[in-house]
Symmetry: C2
Subunit: 418 residues, 2 copies
Amino acid sequence: MTFIPLFFLAFLLQFCSSLSLFHHHPLDPLTPTELNQIKLIVDKSSIGSLPNLTYHFVDLEEPEKIDVLSWLSSKKTNKNAQFRRAKVVVRAGGETRELVVDLASGSIESNRVYTGHGYPPFTFNEFVKASRLPFQYPKFMKSIVNRGLNMSEVSCVPLTVGWYGEKVTKRTLRITCYYRGGSVNVYARPIEGISLFIDVDSMRITNYIDRFRVPVPKAEGTDFRSNKKIDPVTCNNATEKGFEIEGNNVKWGNWKFHVGFNARAGTVISTASIFDARMKKYRQVLYRGHVSETFVPYMDPESEWYFRTFMDIGEFGFGRSASTLQPLIDCPANAEYMDGYVAGADGQAMKMEKVICIFQRDAGDIAWRHAEINNPGTVIRSGQPEKTLVVRMIATVGNYDYVLDWEFKQFGTIKIGV
Amino acid sequence: MTFIPLFFLAFLLQFCSSLSLFHHHPLDPLTPTELNQIKLIVDKSSIGSLPNLTYHFVDLEEPEKIDVLSWLSSKKTNKNAQFRRAKVVVRAGGETRELVVDLASGSIESNRVYTGHGYPPFTFNEFVKASRLPFQYPKFMKSIVNRGLNMSEVSCVPLTVGWYGEKVTKRTLRITCYYRGGSVNVYARPIEGISLFIDVDSMRITNYIDRFRVPVPKAEGTDFRSNKKIDPVTCNNATEKGFEIEGNNVKWGNWKFHVGFNARAGTVISTASIFDARMKKYRQVLYRGHVSETFVPYMDPESEWYFRTFMDIGEFGFGRSASTLQPLIDCPANAEYMDGYVAGADGQAMKMEKVICIFQRDAGDIAWRHAEINNPGTVIRSGQPEKTLVVRMIATVGNYDYVLDWEFKQFGTIKIGV
């Protein structure tokens, strides 16, 4: 009587264990458990007792390429635990620290105070706190009243300020405000003429200028919400499933690759290989790929606009700004979704739902075709419809929605579109 | 007892008549009936008694733009017969003639001998006859035997020869031959070193040079026929039909346009308009559009290659070379097809099956989307998936398959891809 349950349990354990082994890849993004473990390790260390500890960036400290490739070509009976390290950027006691945390041993391997130029990206907490300051600031409230506007309809947005060769810089933001007043399209109605300077370390307004007044653009016609019924298109393959996702590993057609996610880059595609039917083995195509930066200089020399020289990835983060994807609008009916995890300002894991979708695209294109009329007595036509696999993420940074597509093609091409 | 059938018949006649009225558009391509009527008119005229009458080009003589637009904006109770004229290019008695034929009156309105430079495109008959000449030509047969090849496996292809400033030119072709010998991929195995010159008017070989021998590329691995099972993808819109075709008029979303076809250009898109929801009327976007020419100079100065400077549209014709589209390979399951008609060398209408397909594309792209986080207490996400309408034709000229797509987008763009 006890034999069967035990056997069953053993089978179940082995099944789960082999599954989790299959899922693991040395470049897997940090799991929520790992993120929280990292916070615990840092909080319990000497750094944890420093004042004002904030987490600005937590990501996998990637193993060497040679180790990853060797692991991939091995039988993978060894777990990937040996590779689990994290790079962590914190601010504590007014200093920036770069740490390497080893998850297997639960220790901080490296702890370095950064003394170079610049600062880590602001935390979302800092952005939010800064954007609230104008609402308690009498001069600003007076400016709003003087414009005949209603404070309860104002939205303020924190902006990074660029760098213009200063030797010494502080952690600074500027605030720009918008007038909703009957529109949900916040960026459509800027309140121009006002400059608001924030010192982030002390979290206070250090300078305020109300230089001129111009009318706020009208609200009519700015509502971007679609009232159009979305007509779901379901594409059914008769016999072909399309693709397989196991953990972060994706297999599709002759391709296999790994999909990661981090706070800065968002989607990271790694170890993409295509099966070479002639050589009967996979050929490595791309070891690792992600967007590095987007630079958005507005090029307007006015004092209210010159500083808008955004690095949307380095300053805000495509991963942190990843938008929850809307099924049937952002991705078609046949898409599968992945969640992402980032560390909050306190180091706690934060789940970001449906930040990546993966779908097979059947756009009605032709992979190849030929009609040959020069064979006696017959016209030979042949060809194949094109199918591709798309890995999509959308980063919404301010008023911009960056649709980032990695498209894998049957014949070995990877096409990247933003 | 007789009342009902008569009434029914009257209803039916009126229904058909209103249908055919709706179908008509001043830019409709010539119907097979019209093509044959044109042949009859020309054959019965004085031109018909000239020796060696051949038809090189027959197409609608388009009415003036102002008349077309006026007809379109009228109630269209008048038939479009007033507009039915054809431009016809024939060779007869060793001369090129450009005719304008009026279909309503059944007369030749204009009959002009062309005395300028150049000649009309060769007829397919001429191409075919020329390509057969080497098989009766002893010097060529000897060249083939000397190469250890088998005449029964040779395919010959006629090539136009370009123009290099000569004051006087003749109607000339050169012939290039290929060795099938176990491959259906004719162009993969050229028999190099041989030059064959054809005078088309006398249809004989005027010069022959066998300059050198090189091996024919091997047959292995050249078979282009796919043995891959085509997996039909059916995309079903839940509630939306997609598009309507009435004759040559297409309506899709806020677009309406006319799809024509002729021997030279293939697809001709005309009177494309988009509905302006604010102005509550259609806005004209494109009066008429088609490809004008493709120029394919091989840039190899060798005497066997320098003359390959093809004008694939002017010399061969995208319409005449339009490939019958393969459902599920060249166009997806939701495509509808149009046939085309051209005049043969004898002026008779020739049907070309399924030369154009039209389908709604749901590629999983996003027409627009935005996520707005700056409204208090809510994230607003909205957007629309992108749907487009594709009008496709494929011209196979020699070893080239030109996929020609006209893609209409919801927001007023027309994207043309070759």
